[in-house]
């Protein structure tokens, strides 16, 4: 049984003239990290909202087809049960702060309070995510007075503290500097190691190449390509679809066109380095 499964899913926002999602079929497996990419306005956020159960209950509109989460149709899930199964970190960090807490520490604790976790455990869990996200210096601050990047980290911390099995993460690094971005990706990697199933929307293509097990490309509401990350990025025609491709993948492709392909198509720097070192040593041996 698939963990999350979409069958012939189409969706149209209220009053919209075209479908925001068009006949999507896909099965997500447990414990994998899925990268969702595609041009602006393609429907990535809509896709996330769908999985999180906000469509159609919150936005209205017409949803056809079926979405199964852990085998149960999404319309049959209680929204509270869904909240403790799927964590959603969304694109705009400014609206993710509850606005009712006086310290960052309490802000991160809010979800746990709602889930009814006991105080000692709340303190332990919040303390540990604060460490993971390296925001020790922020815990006493007023969450309503943070910078965009700080908010993004606090929002992230607030959701991972809830320890849901599935995480839907929509552009978590849009407000972050390079250091912040690599910190967040380190954590996403760690979460995957812990067995979480992760759906990640991200424009920074090199990071997707490095961390995602599989990639989905969404364009104008359609799932135009999907598959193993290395397979998807070895198709340079994607450039014509408005999708960025990692520089390393382009390099691998150049090598192929030059008649000197790598043994396996490299899409990340470390893979390329390995291949180049290997080729180098082969030359010396000959």
């Amino acid at each position: 049984m698939s963990y999350i499964e979409l069958k012939n899913v189409s969706y149209r926002y209220p009053l919209a003239e075209t479908d925001a999602l068009k006949n999507i079929n896909y099965a997500f497996e447990e414990g994998k990290l899925y990268g969702i990419i595609g041009e602006n306005g393609g429907g990535k956020t809509t896709f996330c909202d769908l999985i999180k159960g906000l469509i159609p209950s919150f936005y209205g509109g017409d949803l056809t087809g079926e979405v199964f989460i852990k085998g149960k149709e999404i319309r049959e899930w209680e929204s509270s049960a869904l909240a403790s199964t799927i964590g959603y970190i969304f694109q705009n960090p400014f609206t993710q702060i509850s606005g009712i807490k006086e310290t960052v520490f309490e802000e991160i604790a809010l979800g746990l309070e709602n889930l009814g976790v006991e105080r000692e455990e709340i303190i332990d869990r919040v303390t540990s995510v604060v460490r993971q996200l390296k925001i020790e210096h922020l815990i006493k601050n007023n969450p309503n007075k943070l910078s965009g990047g700080q908010r993004q980290r606090v929002a992230f911390a607030s959701i991972i503290a809830m320890e849901t099995d599935i995480l839907v993460i929509d552009e978590p690094t849009s407000q972050l500097d390079p250091k912040g971005t690599s910190d967040i990706f380190e954590i996403i990697h760690l979460l995957k190691e812990q067995g979480k199933t992760i759906l990640l929307v991200e424009h920074k293509i090199d990071l997707i190449a490095e961390y995602a097990d599989e990639v989905l490309v969404i364009k104008q509401g359609e799932l135009i390509t999907n598959g193993k990350t290395s397979d998807v990025f070895s198709n340079v025609n994607l450039l014509n679809e408005g999708v960025n491709i990692p520089q390393i993948a382009l390099l691998s492709n150049d090598m192929k066109e030059q008649g000197k392909p790598f043994d396996t198509f490299a899409i990340t720097r470390s893979q390329a380095r390995e291949q180049i070192l290997k080729k180098g040593s082969e030359k010396i041996c000959h």
Partner: protein, 262 residues
């Protein structure tokens, strides 16, 4: 470095050094309102003034005089005179002092105006004192403890936050107006003229923000069926505090009975 002392502060009631601030929020409100009730039974403006003074003294006792006095004066000096004028000008009475068209000032009107204006001072005193001596979250927590549903307390908290948000945003917009050379300081009319164009973006922003906030709260399991817990620690009300509140209530009840009898 993780601030362990700060984290440990959540393991016991978060008390301040001030006894008044440490009272249970509902007990504070009880005392303030009971004091306020006295005015309704005495109907003497002198009594109202005395009670207003008591509120000021309470603010001093709580170590919150500075944050109390400015909003109190701002609010009191607008609302008080307003009630005075409305009552003084339009109230019919025997002892005419001045009459011109619908304006009809009588001694009874003026007396009543003073009475109303000073009651309004008392009301403003209660409101401002609540805001400067009670943490919103402690209030809603203690309300939840006596059985008020979680979503009502959330509504209270988020509307309070909305007011703060709107105020912050107004300041930002007003600043940008000023930097574009639009007059924002000066008399009431100048201020209103500067303020009106700001209103619609402000409220539109607040409404669309509210939609996303609903999603954000949903993501934090707000609708969870489990009874929710609290990170903050509200201290169980000490016996002494209970006695104090009961004494104050009895005393005030006595005063009120006295007032009615007199």
């Amino acid at each position: 470095m993780m601030d362990e002392t700060f984290i440990n502060s959540y393991r016991s009631p978060q008390l301040s050094k001030n006894w008044l601030l440490n009272l249970n929020p509902l007990n504070k409100i009880n005392i303030y309102i009971a004091l306020g009730l006295i005015t309704l039974f005495f109907q003497h403006w002198q009594v109202n003034v005395v009670i207003t003074l008591v509120f000021i003294l309470l603010a001093v006792a709580a170590g919150r005089f500075k944050s109390f006095i400015s909003p109190f004066l701002k609010l009191g000096l607008v609302i008080g005179p307003f009630f005075f004028i409305v009552r003084a000008i339009f109230w019919p009475g025997e002892n005419m002092i001045f009459n011109y068209g619908i304006i009809n000032i009588t001694q009874e009107g003026i007396d009543l105006g003073i009475q109303y204006a000073t009651i309004m001072l008392v009301v403003c005193g209660i409101l401002v004192l609540c805001t400067v001596t009670i943490k919103a979250e402690d209030l809603t927590y203690s309300l939840e403890k006596i059985g008020v549903p979680h979503n009502i307390s959330f509504m209270i908290l988020s509307s309070l936050q909305l007011i703060i948000d709107l105020k912050d945003k107004t300041n930002v917009i007003m600043d940008s107006q000023r930097s574009r050379g639009i007059e924002t300081e000066g008399n009431v009319f100048v201020r209103i003229k500067a303020f009106v164009p700001v209103l619609s973006p402000l409220f539109l922003g607040a409404i669309s923000g509210a939609e996303e906030k609903t999603i954000a709260m949903d993501a934090r399991a707000f609708s969870s069926a489990n009874p929710n817990t609290h990170l903050r620690f509200l201290r169980p009300t000490p016996a002494l505090e209970k006695i104090l509140v009961i004494l104050v209530d009895i005393l005030i009840l006595g005063l009120i009975i006295l007032g009615v009898v007199l």
